[in-house]
């Protein structure tokens, strides 16, 4: 067996391992998947909405928060981050209707800095961060807050799903969000949730105070804060029954920019926290290596693919050159090797397993989320959509190395 084939087998082994781990986590915990902890107390909750140019969505976000059935809602603070549109005006217009609504206006300085600014004014013991284009369901906060009865829980996140599902790109993201929500919940069972996303997460204030707020230099302040909280020994939970809908990019360029930002943010947190790898906790033993591995395995696959492609092309060029010189036919049917190798079979089986897993996730969560997936979209998701990721990682590395990234 050659080295390259060994790398293929390694790649397949690791992929299979993570698939089996996920299925095991499901089979051991399936009864707890939709668990909603009892809400023993209406903890004082401050909701922060950092907003920059969100005139189209801010009103909906504020209204959906105030339509929540959670009794402990103390205040909702909109932080207008120097918007150039009517965000501030719209938010202000809702103050009369909602007395608990507070508007803070400041110069543009980014999301993390906006949240940190608002943290100076909050009165609640728990802080919900919600994007200005996200809409929590009525019972989302009630479901999330029950987790804080456990005093070791530092943050709880909700299941996020796209609101807009009209174009193919939007529907592919809907599949992706569903798979992410499902696997993230499973990671909770081994204390390994690596991000409490900005679409809707609630933090215990003392946990946030302990980490000194959000890191404004990081492109993904939500991953950074989650890692910091995990490093400090807090637990991060997820409530799959608590849902929030959000607006996802509907154009490829916007999607690409968003994902590049997320990836660069991922590099930043890895760089910052890598020294804690193998720290005696799931954070050190699993979260950091798993995250690093997730970023690198795509690159490894892409590198391998291009290496083999390059070698093949170079060889074929030389062979064609020789054939032309010898005046024999360049292409013939015998050039096509129609007998699959064992690696081909393994690859097909692995692909089929991941395809089945995706269907399984969609089936398991069918009552909660979108209902429009079909075979074609799932296959597009499994092939074209996921194949873009390694390219995006390469582009992100390039942008990161050039220092060409900023929030807005």
């Amino acid at each position: 067996m050659e080295i390259i084939e060994g790398v293929y087998f390694f790649y397949m082994f690791v992929s299979l391992f993570f698939l089996i781990l996920t299925l095991l986590l499901y089979s051991h915990n399936k009864n707890r998947l939709m668990h909603i902890p009892e809400l023993k107390e209406n903890y004082a909750l401050s909701v922060l909405i950092p907003a920059y140019n969100e005139e189209e969505t801010i009103q909906g976000t504020i209204e959906s928060i105030f339509s929540s059935n959670y009794k402990g809602l103390k205040e909702v603070i909109v932080i207008n981050d120097g918007s150039k549109d009517n965000t501030l005006k719209i938010a202000n217009s809702l103050k009369k209707k909602y007395p608990k609504l507070i508007i803070l206006d400041k110069k543009n300085s980014g999301k993390a800095d906006s949240i940190n600014y608002a943290l100076k004014f909050v009165k609640g013991d728990f802080i919900a961060i919600i994007d200005a284009d996200s809409y929590p369901e009525k019972n989302a906060f009630s479901h999330l807050m029950g987790y804080f009865s456990d005093t070791k829980v530092g943050a709880v996140t909700a299941a996020c799903t796209p609101l807009n599902r009209n174009t193919l790109l939007e529907r592919l993201q809907a599949i992706e969000y569903k798979v992410i929500a499902f696997t993230r919940k499973l990671l909770e069972f081994i204390d390994s949730i690596y991000v409490a996303p900005g679409s809707l997460s609630v933090y215990r204030k003392i946990a946030l105070d302990e980490i000194g707020g959000f890191d404004k230099t990081n492109m993904t302040e939500d991953i950074e804060s989650t890692w910091h909280i995990l490093k400090n020994g807090w637990k991060v939970k997820m409530c799959l029954a608590a849902t929030v809908t959000t607006i996802v990019p509907n154009k490829f360029k916007a999607w690409w920019i968003q994902r590049v930002r997320w990836t660069i943010g991922g590099f930043q947190v890895l760089k910052k926290y890598f020294r804690y790898v193998f720290q005696k906790s799931m954070f050190g033993y699993f979260v950091i290596p798993f995250f690093a591995f997730g970023l690198s395995i795509g690159l490894l696959g892409l590198g391998l693919f291009f290496y083999l492609l390059l070698i093949r092309v170079l060889n074929q060029v030389e062979i064609v050159f020789y054939k032309m010189n010898a005046n024999v036919s360049v292409i013939s049917l015998s050039n096509l090797n129609m007998t699959p190798t064992v690696l081909n079979y393994f690859g097909i089986v692995l692909f089929a397993l991941f395809l089945l897993f995706t269907f399984f996730v969609l089936f398991t969560m069918r009552d909660k989320f979108l209902k429009k997936e079909n075979l074609f979209e799932v296959i597009i998701y499994m092939t074209l959509y996921l194949i873009v990721y390694p390219f995006m990682i390469i582009w992100s590395i390039y942008k990161w190395s050039k220092g060409e990234f900023r929030w807005r």
Partner: protein
């Protein structure tokens, strides 16, 4: 905290190893079934070549005519050519049983050498012009792209000869770097060029990869 989750990882690891071993054995059995198909080819060809050798031996008794021997030889040559194509395809697809295939390949080349010897023998008995022997010699499992390219060219030319001179040429592909003593002896007699890839026609004319036109002229094949 982390220790209580180790069972998930151990369980996943054990299951992955078991599945992987299972997959490995399934893969192995797929390749072995292909190899056994080749082994059957080998047995058939061995049988046919032995039978031809016997026919040659007893032809002195007037039992077999030259045309019968020649017809039989063409039949075997055709099956050798087709088997070589299948063999090449299986070799290109083999991952787990490569070394086993190398041994199989050597066995086939021993047979092909024997077939070459028989073909020479038939020509001696029935006349030099009854058919042309086209022996395509190459090095087995070369990695240098230049050599692979030369082999591809020669394989293509061999294919042209086989397609266009069906009843004139006996095509025998043999790897010459597998240390087959009978082949080495033949090559000492019939080759004068020290090249890894070449075609010998009728044990006297040697052609290299860049002599496609000369080979075509030899067989009057339009390019």
């Amino acid at each position: 905290m982390a220790m209580r989750y180790r069972y998930y990882f151990l369980e996943a690891l054990v299951l992955t190893i078991l599945l992987f071993i299972g997959g490995f054995f399934i893969g192995l059995s797929i390749e072995k079934s292909r190899n056994s198909e080749l082994a059957n080819y080998y047995l058939t060809t061995e049988d046919e070549i032995s039978s031809l050798a016997d026919q040659l031996d007893i032809s002195n008794l007037g039992k077999y005519t030259c045309s019968e021997l020649i017809e039989r030889n063409f039949y075997i040559a055709d099956s050798i050519y087709r088997q070589a194509l299948v063999f090449e395809e299986y070799e290109n697809s083999a991952i787990l049983t490569k070394s086993q295939l190398t041994r199989e390949h050597r066995k086939f080349d021993v047979l092909r050498t024997l077939f070459w010897i028989n073909s020479i023998d038939i020509k001696k008995r029935c006349g030099d012009n009854v058919f042309n022997t086209v022996v395509y010699l190459y090095d087995y499992q070369v990695e240098k792209t230049e050599e692979v390219a030369k082999q591809k060219v020669m394989a293509r030319i061999s294919g042209e000869i086989n397609d266009n001179s069906e009843n004139e040429a006996i095509l025998i592909p043999i790897a010459k770097n597998l240390n087959i003593s009978s082949l080495n002896t033949l090559l000492q007699n019939y080759t004068h060029i020290n090249e890894t890839t070449l075609i010998i026609i009728n044990e006297k004319n040697e052609f290299l990869y860049n002599q496609a036109e000369e080979i075509r002229d030899y067989f009057k094949i339009d390019s």
